[in-house]
Amino acid sequence: MTDKVEAKPEAKPVAKTDDAPLPASQDGAAASTPQPDSATRLVLTLMGVTLVAGAALAGAHVITKDRIAVAKARKKLTSIKKVLPKCSNNPVTDAIKVGAKGKKTEVYRCRKNQPDGSSPVVAVAIGQSSDGNKNKPYSGVIRVMVGIDVKSGKIRSYKTKTGKSEVAVVIVKHSETPGLGSKAEDYDFRKAYVGRDLKGKDTTSGGKMWLTKKDNVQLGFVDAISGATVTSRAVTEIVKKALTVFNRNKTAIRTTVKGSPKPATGAKPVEPIEPAPTKEKQP
Protein backbone atom coordinates (compact mmCIF):
# COMPACT_ATOMS: atom_id res chain seq x y z
CA MET A 1 0.00 0.00 0.00
CA THR A 2 2.65 2.46 1.04
CA ASP A 3 4.51 1.78 -2.17
CA LYS A 4 1.61 2.90 -4.28
CA VAL A 5 1.20 6.13 -2.36
CA GLU A 6 4.84 6.97 -2.78
CA ALA A 7 4.78 6.22 -6.43
CA LYS A 8 2.14 8.83 -7.15
CA PRO A 9 4.10 12.05 -6.54
CA GLU A 10 6.92 10.63 -8.56
CA ALA A 11 4.72 9.94 -11.49
CA LYS A 12 3.53 13.49 -11.65
CA PRO A 13 6.79 15.23 -12.51
CA VAL A 14 7.49 12.62 -15.14
CA ALA A 15 4.21 13.31 -16.82
CA LYS A 16 4.91 17.02 -16.57
CA THR A 17 8.21 16.85 -18.38
CA ASP A 18 6.77 14.48 -20.90
CA ASP A 19 4.68 16.98 -22.84
CA ALA A 20 7.43 19.52 -23.07
CA PRO A 21 10.85 18.05 -23.45
CA LEU A 22 13.40 17.98 -26.19
CA PRO A 23 13.59 14.48 -27.58
CA ALA A 24 10.06 13.23 -27.17
CA SER A 25 8.44 15.93 -29.25
CA GLN A 26 8.42 14.41 -32.72
CA ASP A 27 5.27 14.84 -34.70
CA GLY A 28 6.39 11.97 -36.79
CA ALA A 29 6.74 14.48 -39.61
CA ALA A 30 10.40 13.85 -40.18
CA ALA A 31 9.95 10.14 -39.94
CA SER A 32 7.11 10.03 -42.46
CA THR A 33 9.26 11.37 -45.30
CA PRO A 34 12.18 9.04 -45.85
CA GLN A 35 14.89 10.63 -47.95
CA PRO A 36 17.02 8.90 -50.53
CA ASP A 37 20.44 9.70 -49.14
CA SER A 38 22.30 9.71 -52.43
CA ALA A 39 25.47 11.76 -52.53
CA THR A 40 24.20 13.99 -55.33
CA ARG A 41 21.14 14.83 -53.36
CA LEU A 42 23.15 15.73 -50.29
CA VAL A 43 25.45 17.98 -52.28
CA LEU A 44 22.60 19.61 -54.18
CA THR A 45 20.57 20.33 -51.07
CA LEU A 46 23.47 21.83 -49.23
CA MET A 47 24.38 23.86 -52.29
CA GLY A 48 20.84 25.09 -52.65
CA VAL A 49 20.71 26.20 -49.05
CA THR A 50 24.03 28.02 -49.26
CA LEU A 51 23.04 29.69 -52.54
CA VAL A 52 19.83 31.06 -51.08
CA ALA A 53 21.68 32.17 -47.95
CA GLY A 54 24.35 33.85 -50.04
CA ALA A 55 21.79 35.67 -52.12
CA ALA A 56 19.95 36.87 -49.02
CA LEU A 57 23.17 38.19 -47.50
CA ALA A 58 24.21 39.92 -50.72
CA GLY A 59 20.86 41.66 -50.81
CA ALA A 60 21.10 42.73 -47.21
CA HIS A 61 24.61 43.98 -47.74
CA VAL A 62 23.49 46.24 -50.58
CA ILE A 63 20.68 47.62 -48.45
CA THR A 64 22.67 48.25 -45.27
CA LYS A 65 26.00 49.25 -46.82
CA ASP A 66 25.19 52.94 -47.13
CA ARG A 67 23.54 53.12 -43.74
CA ILE A 68 26.60 51.58 -42.09
CA ALA A 69 28.89 54.05 -43.83
CA VAL A 70 26.64 56.93 -42.73
CA ALA A 71 26.58 55.67 -39.14
CA LYS A 72 30.36 55.42 -39.06
CA ALA A 73 30.80 58.87 -40.56
CA ARG A 74 28.32 60.34 -38.11
CA LYS A 75 30.17 58.80 -35.20
CA LYS A 76 33.40 60.35 -36.43
CA LEU A 77 31.74 63.70 -37.02
CA THR A 78 30.20 63.75 -33.54
CA SER A 79 33.55 63.24 -31.89
CA ILE A 80 35.18 65.85 -34.12
CA LYS A 81 32.43 68.34 -33.32
CA LYS A 82 32.81 67.66 -29.62
CA VAL A 83 36.45 68.72 -29.55
CA LEU A 84 36.20 71.75 -31.82
CA PRO A 85 34.61 75.15 -31.28
CA LYS A 86 32.04 76.55 -33.71
CA CYS A 87 33.71 76.72 -37.08
CA SER A 88 33.07 78.79 -40.20
CA ASN A 89 34.03 75.82 -42.36
CA ASN A 90 33.42 72.09 -42.41
CA PRO A 91 36.39 70.56 -40.57
CA VAL A 92 35.89 67.18 -42.24
CA THR A 93 36.24 68.49 -45.78
CA ASP A 94 39.02 70.83 -44.75
CA ALA A 95 41.21 68.06 -43.41
CA ILE A 96 44.83 67.55 -44.34
CA LYS A 97 46.95 64.46 -44.06
CA VAL A 98 50.26 64.79 -42.29
CA GLY A 99 53.02 62.50 -41.16
CA ALA A 100 55.20 59.88 -42.75
CA LYS A 101 53.89 57.65 -45.51
CA GLY A 102 51.89 54.72 -44.23
CA LYS A 103 51.37 56.46 -40.89
CA LYS A 104 49.36 59.42 -42.12
CA THR A 105 47.15 61.17 -39.65
CA GLU A 106 44.18 63.24 -40.66
CA VAL A 107 44.03 66.65 -39.09
CA TYR A 108 40.60 68.24 -39.10
CA ARG A 109 40.91 72.00 -39.25
CA CYS A 110 38.48 74.47 -37.83
CA ARG A 111 38.59 77.95 -39.34
CA LYS A 112 37.00 81.13 -38.15
CA ASN A 113 36.15 83.95 -40.48
CA GLN A 114 37.66 87.24 -39.35
CA PRO A 115 36.23 90.70 -39.94
CA ASP A 116 39.06 91.43 -42.37
CA GLY A 117 38.00 88.58 -44.63
CA SER A 118 40.70 86.15 -43.63
CA SER A 119 39.89 82.75 -42.25
CA PRO A 120 42.71 81.35 -40.16
CA VAL A 121 42.78 77.89 -38.63
CA VAL A 122 41.89 78.36 -34.97
CA ALA A 123 41.67 74.79 -33.75
CA VAL A 124 42.32 71.28 -34.99
CA ALA A 125 40.98 67.87 -34.14
CA ILE A 126 43.45 65.00 -34.27
CA GLY A 127 42.46 61.38 -33.77
CA GLN A 128 44.99 58.92 -32.44
CA SER A 129 44.79 55.31 -31.46
CA SER A 130 46.79 53.10 -29.15
CA ASP A 131 48.41 51.37 -32.13
CA GLY A 132 52.15 51.55 -31.66
CA ASN A 133 51.82 52.70 -28.08
CA LYS A 134 54.52 51.85 -25.60
CA ASN A 135 51.77 51.75 -22.98
CA LYS A 136 49.24 49.31 -24.36
CA PRO A 137 45.63 49.45 -23.24
CA TYR A 138 44.28 46.73 -21.00
CA SER A 139 42.34 45.19 -23.88
CA GLY A 140 41.72 45.97 -27.53
CA VAL A 141 42.33 49.38 -29.02
CA ILE A 142 41.62 52.82 -27.60
CA ARG A 143 40.87 55.67 -29.97
CA VAL A 144 40.93 59.23 -28.76
CA MET A 145 39.99 62.48 -30.49
CA VAL A 146 41.87 65.49 -29.21
CA GLY A 147 41.04 69.13 -29.92
CA ILE A 148 43.96 71.54 -29.87
CA ASP A 149 43.96 75.31 -29.87
CA VAL A 150 46.25 76.34 -32.71
CA LYS A 151 47.38 79.63 -31.20
CA SER A 152 48.55 78.26 -27.88
CA GLY A 153 49.17 74.64 -28.82
CA LYS A 154 47.15 73.61 -25.79
CA ILE A 155 44.34 71.15 -25.42
CA ARG A 156 41.05 72.99 -25.57
CA SER A 157 38.70 73.20 -22.66
CA TYR A 158 35.27 74.75 -22.69
CA LYS A 159 31.90 74.90 -21.01
CA THR A 160 29.01 72.84 -22.33
CA LYS A 161 25.58 74.29 -22.96
CA THR A 162 24.55 73.13 -19.51
CA GLY A 163 27.52 74.91 -17.97
CA LYS A 164 29.63 71.87 -17.25
CA SER A 165 33.36 72.05 -17.72
CA GLU A 166 34.66 69.91 -20.55
CA VAL A 167 37.98 69.18 -22.09
CA ALA A 168 38.50 68.41 -25.76
CA VAL A 169 39.64 64.85 -25.21
CA VAL A 170 37.05 62.32 -26.32
CA ILE A 171 37.45 58.57 -26.00
CA VAL A 172 35.96 57.47 -29.29
CA LYS A 173 36.38 53.76 -28.81
CA HIS A 174 37.68 51.45 -26.13
CA SER A 175 37.14 47.97 -24.83
CA GLU A 176 38.44 48.46 -21.32
CA THR A 177 36.83 46.83 -18.31
CA PRO A 178 33.49 48.45 -17.57
CA GLY A 179 33.61 50.23 -14.25
CA LEU A 180 37.39 50.32 -14.14
CA GLY A 181 39.13 51.32 -17.37
CA SER A 182 35.91 52.71 -18.77
CA LYS A 183 36.19 55.52 -16.21
CA ALA A 184 38.66 57.09 -18.62
CA GLU A 185 35.54 58.41 -20.33
CA ASP A 186 34.63 60.43 -17.25
CA TYR A 187 35.51 64.08 -16.99
CA ASP A 188 37.02 63.42 -13.57
CA PHE A 189 39.86 61.60 -15.28
CA ARG A 190 40.10 63.62 -18.48
CA LYS A 191 40.27 66.95 -16.65
CA ALA A 192 43.95 66.24 -16.08
CA TYR A 193 44.51 67.27 -19.70
CA VAL A 194 42.84 70.67 -19.44
CA GLY A 195 45.06 73.31 -20.94
CA ARG A 196 48.10 71.09 -21.33
CA ASP A 197 50.54 71.57 -24.17
CA LEU A 198 53.17 69.10 -25.27
CA LYS A 199 55.46 70.25 -22.46
CA GLY A 200 52.77 69.41 -19.98
CA LYS A 201 52.28 73.05 -19.03
CA ASP A 202 48.92 74.32 -18.04
CA THR A 203 47.76 77.62 -16.69
CA THR A 204 48.64 76.87 -13.09
CA SER A 205 51.76 74.72 -13.03
CA GLY A 206 55.11 74.80 -14.67
CA GLY A 207 56.50 72.09 -16.92
CA LYS A 208 55.10 68.73 -16.01
CA MET A 209 55.56 65.43 -17.71
CA TRP A 210 53.12 63.36 -19.69
CA LEU A 211 53.11 60.70 -17.04
CA THR A 212 50.72 59.48 -14.46
CA LYS A 213 51.38 60.57 -10.90
CA LYS A 214 52.00 56.95 -10.16
CA ASP A 215 54.99 56.90 -12.51
CA ASN A 216 56.43 60.17 -11.26
CA VAL A 217 54.93 61.77 -8.19
CA GLN A 218 56.61 65.15 -8.64
CA LEU A 219 56.34 65.62 -12.37
CA GLY A 220 53.47 63.47 -13.58
CA PHE A 221 50.20 65.36 -13.76
CA VAL A 222 47.70 62.65 -14.64
CA ASP A 223 45.73 61.27 -11.74
CA ALA A 224 45.53 57.60 -12.71
CA ILE A 225 42.19 55.87 -12.27
CA SER A 226 42.47 53.57 -9.30
CA GLY A 227 42.40 50.00 -10.54
CA ALA A 228 43.10 51.10 -14.10
CA THR A 229 46.63 52.46 -14.16
CA VAL A 230 47.25 50.64 -17.44
CA THR A 231 44.34 52.42 -19.11
CA SER A 232 45.40 55.79 -17.68
CA ARG A 233 48.92 55.36 -19.05
CA ALA A 234 47.63 54.28 -22.46
CA VAL A 235 45.22 57.21 -22.81
CA THR A 236 47.89 59.65 -21.65
CA GLU A 237 50.31 58.39 -24.28
CA ILE A 238 47.65 58.65 -26.99
CA VAL A 239 46.81 62.24 -26.08
CA LYS A 240 50.49 63.08 -26.08
CA LYS A 241 50.85 61.50 -29.53
CA ALA A 242 48.09 63.76 -30.84
CA LEU A 243 49.90 66.81 -29.47
CA THR A 244 53.15 65.60 -31.03
CA VAL A 245 51.46 65.30 -34.42
CA PHE A 246 50.24 68.86 -34.04
CA ASN A 247 53.60 70.28 -32.98
CA ARG A 248 55.52 68.57 -35.77
CA ASN A 249 53.13 69.87 -38.42
CA LYS A 250 52.20 73.29 -37.10
CA THR A 251 53.19 75.16 -40.24
CA ALA A 252 51.53 72.71 -42.59
CA ILE A 253 48.35 72.83 -40.58
CA ARG A 254 48.23 76.62 -40.71
CA THR A 255 49.25 77.20 -44.29
CA THR A 256 48.25 74.26 -46.45
CA VAL A 257 45.34 75.19 -48.67
CA LYS A 258 43.19 72.25 -49.47
CA GLY A 259 39.50 72.46 -49.71
CA SER A 260 39.65 75.65 -47.71
CA PRO A 261 36.94 78.16 -48.56
CA LYS A 262 39.33 81.12 -48.47
CA PRO A 263 42.89 81.14 -49.75
CA ALA A 264 45.20 80.72 -46.83
CA THR A 265 47.79 83.03 -48.43
CA GLY A 266 45.59 85.98 -47.67
CA ALA A 267 45.10 84.81 -44.15
CA LYS A 268 48.72 84.25 -43.43
CA PRO A 269 49.98 87.70 -42.53
CA VAL A 270 47.17 88.52 -40.15
CA GLU A 271 47.45 85.30 -38.26
CA PRO A 272 48.27 86.32 -34.75
CA ILE A 273 50.52 83.40 -34.12
CA GLU A 274 54.04 83.99 -33.00
CA PRO A 275 56.62 81.84 -34.77
CA ALA A 276 56.23 78.79 -32.69
CA PRO A 277 59.23 77.20 -31.02
CA THR A 278 59.82 74.51 -33.57
CA LYS A 279 62.44 72.66 -31.63
CA GLU A 280 60.07 71.00 -29.25
CA LYS A 281 61.85 69.14 -26.53
CA GLN A 282 60.36 65.79 -25.78
CA PRO A 283 59.72 65.70 -22.09
Binding site: L22, A30, T45, R67, I68, A71, G179
Partner: protein, 211 residues
Protein backbone atom coordinates in the same frame (compact mmCIF):
# COMPACT_ATOMS: atom_id res chain seq x y z
CA UNK B 1 -5.14 26.83 -26.83
CA UNK B 2 -3.60 25.14 -23.85
CA UNK B 3 -1.14 23.56 -26.25
CA UNK B 4 -0.16 26.97 -27.59
CA UNK B 5 0.36 28.53 -24.20
CA UNK B 6 2.22 25.45 -23.05
CA UNK B 7 4.73 25.67 -25.88
CA UNK B 8 5.26 29.39 -25.31
CA UNK B 9 5.38 29.36 -21.52
CA UNK B 10 7.93 26.56 -21.42
CA UNK B 11 10.68 28.95 -22.42
CA UNK B 12 9.87 31.26 -19.56
CA UNK B 13 9.86 28.79 -16.74
CA UNK B 14 10.01 25.01 -16.91
CA UNK B 15 12.54 24.97 -19.76
CA UNK B 16 14.07 28.42 -19.43
CA UNK B 17 17.10 28.28 -21.73
CA UNK B 18 19.46 30.03 -19.32
CA UNK B 19 18.26 28.94 -15.90
CA UNK B 20 17.10 25.38 -16.56
CA UNK B 21 18.67 24.17 -19.80
CA UNK B 22 21.83 26.20 -19.09
CA UNK B 23 22.33 26.85 -22.78
CA UNK B 24 23.93 29.92 -24.32
CA UNK B 25 25.84 30.82 -21.19
CA UNK B 26 28.68 32.55 -23.03
CA UNK B 27 26.64 35.58 -24.15
CA UNK B 28 24.65 35.41 -20.92
CA UNK B 29 27.73 35.88 -18.80
CA UNK B 30 29.61 38.18 -21.12
CA UNK B 31 27.18 40.89 -22.19
CA UNK B 32 24.91 41.33 -19.18
CA UNK B 33 26.98 44.20 -17.79
CA UNK B 34 23.97 46.47 -18.21
CA UNK B 35 20.25 45.97 -18.55
CA UNK B 36 20.25 47.52 -22.01
CA UNK B 37 23.01 45.23 -23.24
CA UNK B 38 21.15 42.20 -21.90
CA UNK B 39 17.97 43.36 -23.57
CA UNK B 40 19.77 44.00 -26.86
CA UNK B 41 21.44 40.61 -26.85
CA UNK B 42 18.16 38.94 -25.95
CA UNK B 43 16.24 40.61 -28.75
CA UNK B 44 19.02 39.85 -31.24
CA UNK B 45 18.95 36.20 -30.22
CA UNK B 46 15.15 36.13 -30.33
CA UNK B 47 15.22 37.47 -33.89
CA UNK B 48 17.76 34.91 -35.03
CA UNK B 49 15.89 32.10 -33.27
CA UNK B 50 12.59 33.12 -34.85
CA UNK B 51 14.14 33.33 -38.31
CA UNK B 52 15.98 30.06 -38.07
CA UNK B 53 13.02 28.19 -36.57
CA UNK B 54 10.73 29.41 -39.36
CA UNK B 55 13.18 28.53 -42.12
CA UNK B 56 14.17 25.18 -40.71
CA UNK B 57 10.59 24.20 -40.09
CA UNK B 58 9.74 25.08 -43.68
CA UNK B 59 12.58 23.12 -45.23
CA UNK B 60 12.56 20.26 -42.74
CA UNK B 61 11.12 17.78 -45.21
CA UNK B 62 13.54 18.43 -48.07
CA UNK B 63 16.73 18.30 -46.01
CA UNK B 64 18.34 14.86 -45.97
CA UNK B 65 19.20 13.71 -42.48
CA UNK B 66 22.90 13.39 -43.19
CA UNK B 67 23.44 17.05 -44.03
CA UNK B 68 20.91 18.57 -41.69
CA UNK B 69 23.39 20.07 -39.22
CA UNK B 70 25.42 21.92 -41.90
CA UNK B 71 22.16 23.17 -43.40
CA UNK B 72 20.94 24.41 -40.02
CA UNK B 73 24.20 26.18 -39.36
CA UNK B 74 24.10 27.90 -42.75
CA UNK B 75 20.57 29.12 -42.06
CA UNK B 76 21.49 30.30 -38.57
CA UNK B 77 24.68 32.01 -39.74
CA UNK B 78 22.72 33.82 -42.41
CA UNK B 79 20.27 35.23 -39.90
CA UNK B 80 23.05 36.20 -37.52
CA UNK B 81 24.84 38.09 -40.27
CA UNK B 82 21.59 39.81 -41.21
CA UNK B 83 21.04 40.89 -37.61
CA UNK B 84 24.67 41.98 -37.34
CA UNK B 85 24.43 44.20 -40.41
CA UNK B 86 21.07 45.61 -39.40
CA UNK B 87 22.30 46.52 -35.93
CA UNK B 88 25.42 48.13 -37.30
CA UNK B 89 23.38 50.18 -39.72
CA UNK B 90 20.58 51.28 -37.41
CA UNK B 91 21.65 50.93 -33.76
CA UNK B 92 25.33 51.59 -34.02
CA UNK B 93 26.12 52.11 -30.34
CA UNK B 94 24.43 48.88 -29.28
CA UNK B 95 26.38 47.12 -32.00
CA UNK B 96 29.57 48.60 -30.60
CA UNK B 97 28.88 47.47 -27.04
CA UNK B 98 27.73 43.96 -27.95
CA UNK B 99 30.70 43.74 -30.27
CA UNK B 100 32.02 40.29 -30.86
CA UNK B 101 29.06 38.57 -29.26
CA UNK B 102 26.67 39.19 -32.13
CA UNK B 103 28.58 36.97 -34.60
CA UNK B 104 28.91 34.45 -31.79
CA UNK B 105 25.13 33.98 -31.69
CA UNK B 106 25.84 31.44 -34.44
CA UNK B 107 27.29 29.07 -31.91
CA UNK B 108 24.69 29.81 -29.24
CA UNK B 109 23.49 26.33 -28.30
CA UNK B 110 19.90 27.47 -27.86
CA UNK B 111 19.46 28.17 -31.53
CA UNK B 112 20.94 24.99 -32.94
CA UNK B 113 19.33 23.11 -30.07
CA UNK B 114 15.85 24.37 -30.91
CA UNK B 115 16.47 23.77 -34.63
CA UNK B 116 17.50 20.19 -34.06
CA UNK B 117 15.11 19.28 -31.28
CA UNK B 118 12.01 21.20 -32.26
CA UNK B 119 11.89 23.08 -35.56
CA UNK B 120 13.13 20.15 -37.62
CA UNK B 121 10.33 17.95 -36.27
CA UNK B 122 7.39 20.30 -35.89
CA UNK B 123 5.02 22.35 -37.98
CA UNK B 124 5.65 25.99 -38.82
CA UNK B 125 3.14 27.28 -36.29
CA UNK B 126 4.54 25.26 -33.42
CA UNK B 127 8.08 26.25 -34.36
CA UNK B 128 7.19 29.94 -34.29
CA UNK B 129 5.57 29.53 -30.88
CA UNK B 130 8.61 27.68 -29.63
CA UNK B 131 10.98 30.38 -30.91
CA UNK B 132 8.88 33.13 -29.32
CA UNK B 133 8.74 31.33 -25.98
CA UNK B 134 12.39 30.40 -25.84
CA UNK B 135 13.53 33.76 -27.22
CA UNK B 136 11.43 35.77 -24.78
CA UNK B 137 12.54 33.56 -21.91
CA UNK B 138 16.15 34.18 -22.89
CA UNK B 139 15.56 37.92 -23.32
CA UNK B 140 13.80 38.36 -19.98
CA UNK B 141 16.43 36.36 -18.13
CA UNK B 142 19.25 38.36 -19.69
CA UNK B 143 17.45 41.60 -18.97
CA UNK B 144 16.92 40.71 -15.31
CA UNK B 145 20.48 39.48 -14.94
CA UNK B 146 21.77 42.66 -16.58
CA UNK B 147 19.54 44.83 -14.36
CA UNK B 148 20.75 43.22 -11.15
CA UNK B 149 24.37 43.42 -12.19
CA UNK B 150 24.12 47.01 -13.38
CA UNK B 151 22.25 48.24 -10.30
CA UNK B 152 24.68 46.59 -7.90
CA UNK B 153 27.82 47.10 -9.92
CA UNK B 154 27.28 50.53 -11.41
CA UNK B 155 24.41 51.96 -9.42
CA UNK B 156 22.33 52.59 -12.53
CA UNK B 157 19.69 50.95 -14.68
CA UNK B 158 19.95 51.72 -18.37
CA UNK B 159 16.82 51.01 -20.34
CA UNK B 160 17.54 52.75 -23.59
CA UNK B 161 20.45 54.46 -25.23
CA UNK B 162 20.60 55.79 -28.76
CA UNK B 163 22.80 58.65 -29.88
CA UNK B 164 21.98 61.43 -27.40
CA UNK B 165 18.89 59.80 -25.92
CA UNK B 166 19.55 58.00 -22.68
CA UNK B 167 16.93 56.50 -20.39
CA UNK B 168 18.75 55.71 -17.20
CA UNK B 169 17.84 55.51 -13.53
CA UNK B 170 20.36 55.91 -10.76
CA UNK B 171 19.99 53.77 -7.65
CA UNK B 172 23.27 54.36 -5.86
CA UNK B 173 24.59 57.91 -5.49
CA UNK B 174 27.51 58.73 -7.73
CA UNK B 175 29.69 59.56 -4.74
CA UNK B 176 29.39 56.09 -3.22
CA UNK B 177 31.27 53.22 -4.74
CA UNK B 178 29.02 50.48 -6.07
CA UNK B 179 29.92 46.78 -5.85
CA UNK B 180 32.17 46.91 -8.84
CA UNK B 181 32.75 43.16 -9.01
CA UNK B 182 29.15 42.69 -10.12
CA UNK B 183 29.82 44.07 -13.59
CA UNK B 184 33.12 42.25 -13.88
CA UNK B 185 33.18 38.63 -15.11
CA UNK B 186 33.07 37.08 -11.60
CA UNK B 187 29.91 39.06 -10.88
CA UNK B 188 28.22 37.33 -13.81
CA UNK B 189 28.84 33.93 -12.28
CA UNK B 190 27.77 35.08 -8.83
CA UNK B 191 24.54 36.66 -10.09
CA UNK B 192 23.72 33.68 -12.32
CA UNK B 193 24.34 31.34 -9.40
CA UNK B 194 21.84 33.20 -7.26
CA UNK B 195 19.34 33.26 -10.13
CA UNK B 196 19.54 29.50 -10.62
CA UNK B 197 19.42 28.85 -6.88
CA UNK B 198 16.36 31.08 -6.55
CA UNK B 199 14.69 29.38 -9.48
CA UNK B 200 15.32 25.94 -7.98
CA UNK B 201 14.09 27.05 -4.57
CA UNK B 202 10.82 28.34 -6.01
CA UNK B 203 10.36 25.26 -8.13
CA UNK B 204 10.91 22.83 -5.28
CA UNK B 205 8.51 24.84 -3.11
CA UNK B 206 5.92 24.72 -5.87
CA UNK B 207 6.42 21.00 -6.24
CA UNK B 208 5.97 20.52 -2.52
CA UNK B 209 2.71 22.43 -2.60
CA UNK B 210 1.44 20.52 -5.61
CA UNK B 211 2.49 17.18 -4.17
Amino acid sequence: MSDTSKIVSRGFWSENPVLVLLLGLCPTLAVTTSAYNGLGMGVATLTVLLGSNICISLIRNIIPKKVRIPCFIVVIATFVTLVDMTLEAFVNNLHASLGLFIPLIVVNCIILGRAEAWASRNTLGKSILDAVGMGLGFTITLFLLGSVREILGNGTLTLFQYQETLVQFRFIAKSTDPILVMILPPGAFIALGFFIAGMNAIQSRMKKKAG
